[in-house]
């Protein structure tokens, strides 16, 4: 499946302003397999254990670099390199219309902490082509995952004018998300989503957020995708 979408996302995590950016859509599934529900915040994953209603396997996520010179709010805070987060996921469908999912990932590169995402979605087919889904979200992060983005050391404090702050890990955010999708025909599908997070703990208490940003983080996205078969004989 290939497609393109647009996401209106915060400039950086904790930012007050948002920016529209293109998002490519690409997924591969085994011949004969049908498309399955996927949440906007799910990492890229593959199920190595599949009981039908319970699936588990590796997951990965890319976190873009945060360049201090890209946004005035970050002046003096230094760059944070791009990170790749690798780990595992487990998801469970007690019934067709309800999914729970957990991901735990270890950061490499820009941060070396642990991130755990928890989500639940009620999936409601309104008519045969139109589906709505929505549910709560929660994220926990270790100190090593929080500190590079929300901590302010003495040097950064002097350079940025923000007070020094030692950001520790813990409950990172809580929120909710909703998604609608409409299948135009067997090949084309359009979708749209909104995800809201309220930063918690030291992420919310960071001077970067309290003085220059916002604890309320909203992402809006939409896109269109086209599914097709490729036969390799």
């Amino acid at each position: 499946m290939v497609g393109v979408g647009g996401g209106y996302t915060p400039d950086f995590e904790g930012a007050k302003r948002s920016m529209l950016s293109p998002v490519p859509i690409f997924s591969i599934r085994r011949a004969g397999a049908t498309e399955q529900f996927r949440g906007p915040r799910d990492g890229a994953s593959i199920a190595l254990i599949d009981f039908g209603d319970l699936r588990a396997g590796p997951v990965g996520k890319f976190v873009a670099a945060r360049k201090a010179n890209s946004y005035s709010e970050l002046n003096g805070l230094g760059d944070v390199n791009a990170a790749v987060e690798l780990g595992g996921f487990v998801e469970y469908f007690p019934v067709d219309w309800f999914r729970t999912r957990a991901e735990m990932r270890q950061g490499l590169g820009g941060h070396h902490g642990v991130v755990a995402d928890f989500s639940a979605d009620i999936i409601v087919p309104v008519i045969q082509r139109f589906t709505i889904s929505a549910g709560p979200r929660f994220t926990w992060e270790s100190t090593k995952a929080t500190s590079p983005y929300f901590g302010v050391d003495a040097v950064q404090a002097a350079a940025s004018g923000l007070p020094a702050f030692n950001a520790k890990g813990g409950a990172h955010s809580v929120g909710a998300g909703a998604q609608v999708s409409y299948r135009v025909d067997p090949q084309w599908e359009v979708h749209s989503y909104i995800e809201y997070d309220r930063l918690l703990g030291d992420a919310a208490a960071s001077p970067l957020v309290t003085l220059r940003g916002s604890a309320n983080q909203t992402t809006i996205g939409m896109g269109a995708s086209y599914s097709f078969d490729v036969k390799i004989r």
Binding site: A31, G32, A33, T34, E35, Q36, F37, A47, L48, I49, D50, F51, G52, D53, L54, R55, G57, F93, P94, V95, D96, W97, R99, I123, V124, P125, V126, I127, Q128, T131, P186, R233
Partner: protein, 251 residues
């Protein structure tokens, strides 16, 4: 600076040659096949499943439909489709053994690295041995809805939405061609969806049906309308699939 170019070209040539070699091997093997036996183990039971907006209990129910003679029909139709190219010979086999073999491990990489689950059955349960190839037609699985639940073989699916619900029948099967001497799989294909695909996208032949097909209380095997709908699905999809596998010349 030239070395990487040479290496890349060498790799591309090697990949191209090996791809051609694989293709030729399969085609060559099929061209050498004269006598075939056909095994079908698809139609022992029909499963009733619910999807979409369901109650909390969405367990499937299965009923025997051996009296419909679907497997005999499949063998007859496949024989008619293949007779122009191959000499089809009758074979005897333990149908239940083929129908109940566990094809998929819950640990998905195991499915990739382990051998074909039907290989040993073709070697030990089919008589006579010594034909050039054996064509084995067995149940296939498909996910349905947004989740990971699967339906298999012959079935009746009721899919609920907020505004209405839909009924759909399916006949999901896959076809393997085994080499009669090495018992390696020469060719394998899952029957693809038909053009008039049902409401719920399944990875195989299915069609939407109206309420009149819904079996009332009692044995679904007695429902002639359901029987006719399933037979039609199998008949329309079988020749197409055999043709897609280059086993039958005409659709």
């Amino acid at each position: 600076m030239r070395t990487p170019r040479v290496s890349l070209a060498t790799v591309l040539v090697a990949v191209s040659v090996s791809a051609c070699a694989m293709f030729e091997t399969r085609e060559t093997k099929l061209q050498a096949v004269k006598t075939v036996g056909i095994i079908s183990a698809v139609g022992d039971e029909i499963t009733f499943a619910t999807g979409g907006l369901t109650g909390l209990n969405n367990r499937s129910q299965s009923f025997p439909i051996g009296s419909w003679g679907l497997d005999d029909l499949i063998v007859q139709q496949a024989t008619a489709a293949l007779n122009g190219r191959f000499q089809v010979q009758p074979v005897t086999y333990e149908r239940d053994a083929f129908a109940t073999v566990e094809k998929d491990s819950i640990v998905t990489p195991v499915n990739v690295i382990r051998g074909d689950p039907f290989k040993k059955l073709v070697q030990t349960q089919v008589s006579p041995q010594g034909l050039d190839a054996y064509i084995v037609i067995t149940k296939a699985k498909s996910n349905f809805g947004g989740g990971s639940r699967k339906v298999e073989g012959i079935g009746f699916l009721t899919y609920g939405t907020v505004l209405e619900s839909y009924n759909q029948v399916h006949a999901l099967y896959e076809i393997r061609v085994f080499d009669g001497k090495t018992f390696d799989v020469i060719e394998k294909m899952t029957a693809p969806p038909l053009d008039d695909v049902g409401v719920v996208r399944l990875a195989g032949p299915s069609r939407t049906i109206d309420e009149s097909f819904t079996p009332s209380a009692g044995n679904p095997a007695q429902n002639e309308k359901l029987h006719a709908a399933i037979t039609d699905l199998v008949a329309r999809s079988l020749s197409t699939t055999l043709s897609d596998m280059h086993l039958a010349d005409v659709r």
